[in-house]
């Protein structure tokens, strides 16, 4: 196991390196450099030249990439070209915000979704399953922006119970933060739960048709015990992967929710910095997103291995 993890971590580093090269190359070929974009309508040749020198863009691309790489390896993400402040400072609040929203959503959505999925798989084809399936299908087909906007209209504008935007002042108390995060969390929980629950139902439903489950039932093992001990165990691997992908999505892909609730998170920062061609910030975001995906999937794979029945110590057959 340790060997497996070590290899995967090594591969992750290699992947991050390749991604950083690709991101750098992509930013170089985008039309308009950071100086031109920053000056917009005022991009006269003199102004662009002055700003390029100020930003250190007069050096050749390879040298700029190497400078960035040397810094990044030592944990120094460099300075934003646009704000001139350290990238780490620019990221810190956004990372905390994104982690908070993704964390809370995951904590609520994952147990809820798996429970729902299991119940639906156990009552496969019956009224409960069908009813839940229809609701979940409808919710997973609803775009986040629609759901979020409807929630805002109802709870913030009409009823006035909750704030319309998830704006956090520095030093907001726990109550204030919870109130601000309620609506964005709710819209994300609905979307993510629907996804995971459907996948769980499909995975588990598939396992429940397998011969060894039939064998267990024929042997007289009670239904709940069949699901809990025999079926779920084999479902952990695939479900963990689905959860990992959804969590990674919460870190990098929720730009719509961030926009509607004006919540300053990483996804929005990535888009802003690509638009302003602020390479060090783009790189830092890309590294974080890439690392999140790879590490979460690694975690899912580790869980799959741990829960793989074949990894258990052999027991006599009659213990079943």
């Amino acid at each position: 196991m340790a060997h497996f993890i070590a290899w995967r971590l090594l591969a992750t580093l290699l992947l991050l390196f390749i991604v950083s090269l690709l991101v750098f190359w992509a930013c170089e070929i985008l039309p308009g450099d950071v100086a031109q974009v920053a000056l917009g309508q005022y991009a006269t040749p003199e102004n662009v030249k002055a700003l390029r020198i100020e930003m250190g863009l007069n050096q050749p691309p390879l040298q700029r990439y190497l400078q960035w790489l040397v810094g990044a390896v030592q944990g120094d993400w460099g300075r934003s070209l646009v704000t001139k402040s350290p990238v780490s400072g620019l990221l810190s609040e956004r990372v905390a915000n994104t982690a908070l929203l993704a964390g809370i959503t995951t904590l609520i959505a994952v147990p809820l979704a798996i429970a729902l999925g299991v119940v639906m798989a156990m009552w496969n084809g019956r009224a409960l399953d069908r009813g839940a399936s229809i609701v979940i299908l409808a919710l997973s087909a609803t775009p986040e922006f629609l759901l979020a906007t409807l929630l805002v209209l109802l709870f913030a504008v009409n009823l006035g119970w909750l704030p319309a935007v998830a704006y956090l002042s520095t030093g907001s108390g726990l109550g204030q933060t919870a109130r601000a995060l309620l609506l964005p969390t709710a819209s994300l929980v609905v979307v993510v739960t629907a996804q995971i629950a459907r996948m769980t139902r499909a995975i588990l439903g598939n396992i429940l048709t397998q011969a060894y489950i039939e064998m267990a039932i024929l042997k007289g093992v009670p239904g709940r015990r069949v699901v809990a001990r025999h079926a779920l165990r084999n479902a952990v691997g695939p479900i963990a992967n689905v959860v990992a992908l959804n969590t990674a999505y919460l870190v990098s892909g929720i730009v719509v929710v961030e926009t509607i609730f004006a919540y300053p998170g990483l996804a929005r920062l990535m888009i802003d910095s690509v638009q302003s061609r602020d390479l060090p910030v783009v790189q830092a975001c890309a590294m974080i997103f890439c690392a999140t995906y790879v590490l979460l999937i690694l975690l899912a794979d580790v869980m799959a291995r741990v829960f793989d029945p074949r990894s258990l110590p052999q027991r006599p057959m009659d213990a079943i």
């Binding site: 005022y42 913030a156 520095t170």
Partner: protein, 523 residues
């Protein structure tokens, strides 16, 4: 002061030359009479926090006034820094840090008297050295300044004793007191190049600044305007989504928002706690032709296109009535300079056909480059496309990405949309966009007579003569085939009913982006 020289400034009585004629900001005067609603009422009250939602989210937010190019920065600037002058609702320069000013009769030498007792938020007094640096730094090679073109006319800035600053101009400029008050000429400390921790002489000091996230400003107790500002704290943060922004105002999470759009306007107008704040202005979205290349160097082609614009429909459906119809030149109908003798161009498919026939364009496709980066351009283009079919023109719309629009599209494609905010004076706008080689001459239009007229208006104190010169300028631009201006766009913002003391200024949203030191909360 020598005999015959001109005087102005608040401390001086009105001379033979009226203040009104003196100011070139005349773009505004008539506009205010009708629609602009003033929120000034009652006596100001102290205290409270005001929150403003911005519509642009950008990590490029800055306190370096040389880099200012959007409302976010302008509002931050007018809150934390002071300026020599400020433009008022009538388009005239009003004293701020400069108490009064006077010019020689050629308007090439301007002497500003500086207010005593103004100090920075760190306690240091504001000196003439600071003021000179604040102006001249825009000329330095290492400073990329959005005011580089404007500073070009200043040949020297010197101190005359501790209380006077003397500006020598290369060309006469009767509008100079307005020019020196623009957002870029914020007063900063001598030798400052890093604005991470801004120190100004303005109404507020910076408590927290996170570019693209939030700005928190607190009242500067030592502000030189006695008793001002009235509010204790001012916060601004972006809500880029238009409906989310309107919702935040309706739910009371913010007190002011920039740029109401679409249905949000009606929702706010109906609501009990907020209202629509309209600022009539001469902001415009234009379609320009690059006259230095084919096919856009074909004047008939551009004139034909200008007859394909249903201006009334643009005003009613795209702008929802918040604007005025324009006549393919940048002077607003409310301006005293407006040339009413010039016939209004309207949708006329026959005239369009006539010009297209003359142009010899035939069936070759014509492409309009537009994009979401240029307000309403795509909507205007689509309306034109419908009429083009009737006129037998193969008109295509190309959507261009917003972020590289000004470097890769404007001035680089045959026909493209541009968007201009009004400048404090028409002369400033004309200088920046209609002179050979000027920064915003995206059409690359060159016309000697036009350039001469622009210079003449800047040196002319007499209103009647100026009006005549401006009249000819409008005719030249109207017939240039270089620009189509369908409508002028009002600024439409949303403001809570608690906010008092706000008056519209036609150069920008929410009191011309300059309001934080005069608003108060009436809960």
């Amino acid at each position: 002061m020598a005999d015959g020289s001109m005087m102005t400034g608040s401390s001086l009585p009105a001379s033979a030359l009226t203040r009104r004629a003196f100011s070139a900001g005349l773009l505004t005067t008539g506009l205010l009479a009708g629609s602009g609603r003033s929120l000034a009422q009652g006596t100001p009250k102290r205290g409270g926090t005001v929150r403003l939602a911005l519509f642009q989210q950008s990590t490029g937010d800055t306190f370096d006034s040389a880099r200012y190019d959007k409302g976010n920065d302008y509002i931050r600037g007018t809150s934390v820094y002071s300026y020599l002058t400020r433009m008022d609702e009538k388009g005239e320069a009003q004293p701020e840090v400069a108490e009064s000013w006077e010019a020689n009769k050629e308007a090439t030498r301007w002497v500003f008297t500086i207010r005593k007792g103004v100090s920075f938020s760190d306690g240091a007094p504001l000196t003439t050295d600071d003021i000179i640096f604040s102006i001249l730094r825009h000329r330095e090679d290492k400073v990329a300044s959005t005011a580089k073109q404007l500073i070009a006319n200043i040949s020297s800035v010197t101190a005359d004793g501790p209380g006077k600053i003397v500006f020598e101009l290369a060309q006469p400029d009767v509008d100079f007191p307005i020019l020196i008050g623009i957002f870029q000429f914020a007063l900063v400390k001598n030798g400052t190049y890093d604005f991470a921790r801004p120190i100004g002489t303005g109404a507020f000091t910076v408590k927290e600044f996170q570019p693209g996230i939030r700005t928190v400003l607190v009242r500067n107790p030592n502000f030189w305007k006695q008793g001002q500002p009235y509010i204790d704290q001012f916060e601004m943060f972006p809500i880029p989504d238009a409906s989310a922004r309107a919702n935040a105002l309706l739910s009371g999470d913010v007190d002011m928002i920039l740029e109401l759009r679409g249905n949000g306007i009606e929702q706010v107008a109906k609501s009990s706690n907020a209202e629509v704040f309209v600022t009539p202005s001469t902001r415009y979205t234009a379609i320009q032709a690059a006259v230095d290349r084919a096919p856009s160097n074909n004047t008939d082609l551009a004139l034909g296109l200008s007859y394909l614009i249903d201006r009334k429909r643009v005003l009613d459906t795209v702008l929802r009535g918040y604007g005025t119809i324009a006549n393919d030149h940048p002077i607003g109908p409310a301006s005293p300079y407006y040339n009413a003798a010039l016939p209004q161009r309207e949708l006329d498919v026959d005239k369009a056909k006539f010009h297209f026939g003359k142009s010899g364009i035939g069936a070759s496709p014509i492409e309009l480059s537009m994009g979401d980066g240029v307000l309403y351009s795509v909507d205007i283009g689509q309306l034109m496309q419908r009429e083009a079919m009737r006129a037998g023109l193969n008109l295509q719309i190309k959507r261009e990405p917003a972020e590289s629009y000004w470097t890769a599209v404007a001035g680089k494609r045959p026909f493209f949309a541009t968007n201009f905010h009004p400048r404090p004076t028409y002369n400033m706008l004309l200088n920046l966009s209609w002179k050979k080689g000027a920064v915003w001459n995206f059409s690359h239009f060159e016309n000697e007579r036009l350039e001469k007229l622009i210079d003449m208006t800047r040196a002319e104190f007499d209103l009647a003569k100026r009006k005549e010169q401006y009249g000819e300028i409008q005719t030249i631009i109207h017939n240039s085939g270089a620009i189509m201006i369908p409508t002028f766009l009002n600024y439409v913002d949303g403001v809570s009913k608690k906010i008092k003391g706000l008056t519209p200024l036609p150069i920008g949203s929410l009191g011309g982006f300059n309001f934080t030191d005069r608003i108060w909360l009436d809960a």
